[in-house]
């Protein structure tokens, strides 16, 4: 999966806001708010096509986190992004 190219992401305050742009913004009005980890995963999926396993791997390389926790975090973020039509 990859990030839907019709989204933009910007750091606002301590968070990252992902917002639909262009035609997509006429269908989906919601914006989502991500923390540092969420934004990291977002960037991974902007650069290349990733599976959940790829994302867990990337997270483990970047952050000191237990594999089980990384797996749960990745799944939670992916579900959130799916729900908001951020993935293609």
């Amino acid at each position: 999966m990859r990030i839907n190219p019709d989204f933009t992401i910007q750091k606002v305050g301590a968070s990252y806001l992902a917002v639909p742009v262009g035609e997509t913004s006429k269908q989906f009005h919601g914006m989502i708010r991500l923390n540092e980890t969420g934004a990291f995963l977002w960037n991974q999926m902007t650069e290349k096509d990733c599976t959940e396993a790829d994302l867990v791997e990337a997270l483990l390389q970047e952050y000191e986190v237990e594999p089980a926790v990384a797996k749960t975090d990745v799944h939670r973020v992916v579900e959130l992004l799916k729900e908001h039509h951020c993935l293609v």
Partner: protein, 234 residues
């Protein structure tokens, strides 16, 4: 077709219906020069009419402002849904979900705070200045009460309203400010425009004081809000 000046930017409005001309008359300026032009397609008007039994002229006006807001982001200007009062040359803004009582609280200021005037009751434009401060500007889009005037002022602070059992005001944390601002910021548009508005939102979080006012419908609520916001911003 006519030219208006909004937040210091000259905009050529290419309208079809006379509704807009009447609405914008206090903002019309002379001369042929303009910074950008804006129009609305027939399809946009049809789409807008799906939301209710409104005239073409009214729908054109709604769509025109949406298109203005998208283009004006390039000038460091954006719409934040709020009710703004001006007192002694400074602007005090209130934001809330619809139905919470922005209009009611605004009316309490008019009654209780000497010299208070409504700059815009619903859809003012905020401009990020070169020094990082914010000014707020009247627009012909005023909300259903049609409260507003062609006026600008530096922003003293922004206050989120809540209904409460008694009156209390406190600074908003950055976390809740972002949460609440997200609901009031108008963000549809192209990538460059949306990015620009998010950058301005970030600047706003860093530079303006934000408050949460829990209030009853009372004269005391207006005095508490005004006294707190005025002193903090000096």
């Amino acid at each position: 077709m006519f030219i208006i000046r909004l937040a210091g930017v000259r905009i050529r409005v290419e309208n079809r219906y006379s509704f807009l001309e009447r609405q914008c008359r206090e903002y019309v300026c002379s001369g042929e020069e303009y910074d950008f032009s804006v129009s609305v397609t027939g399809d946009e008007i049809l789409e807008e009419q799906k939301h209710g039994e409104f005239s073409e002229g009214y729908c054109e006006s709604i769509c025109m402002y949406r298109n203005i807001c998208e283009k004006i982001a390039a000038y460091n200007i954006f719409l934040l849904h709020s009710s703004v009062l001006e007192v002694d040359g400074r602007a005090y803004a209130f934001a809330a979900r619809s139905g919470v009582g922005k209009s009611t609280h605004t009316a309490l200021w008019l009654k209780n705070i000497p010299g208070a005037r409504v700059l815009n009751g619903d859809k003012p434009l905020y401009r990020l200045e070169a020094d990082g401060s914010f000014t707020v500007h009247g627009t012909p889009w005023n909300g259903k009460e049609d409260w507003g005037m062609n006026l600008s002022a530096p922003v003293a602070g922004i206050c989120f309203l809540e209904r409460g059992e008694k009156n209390a005001i406190r600074p908003a944390t950055p976390e809740e400010t972002l949460n609440r601002l997200m609901h009031q910021l108008y963000l549809r548009g192209g990538r460059a425009s949306v990015n620009q508005r998010l950058i301005m939102m970030n600047a706003m979080l860093e530079s303006l004081p934000f408050y949460v006012l829990s209030c009853t419908i009372s004269d005391e609520a207006a005095h508490l809000a005004y006294n707190t916001m005025r002193l903090q911003s000096n």
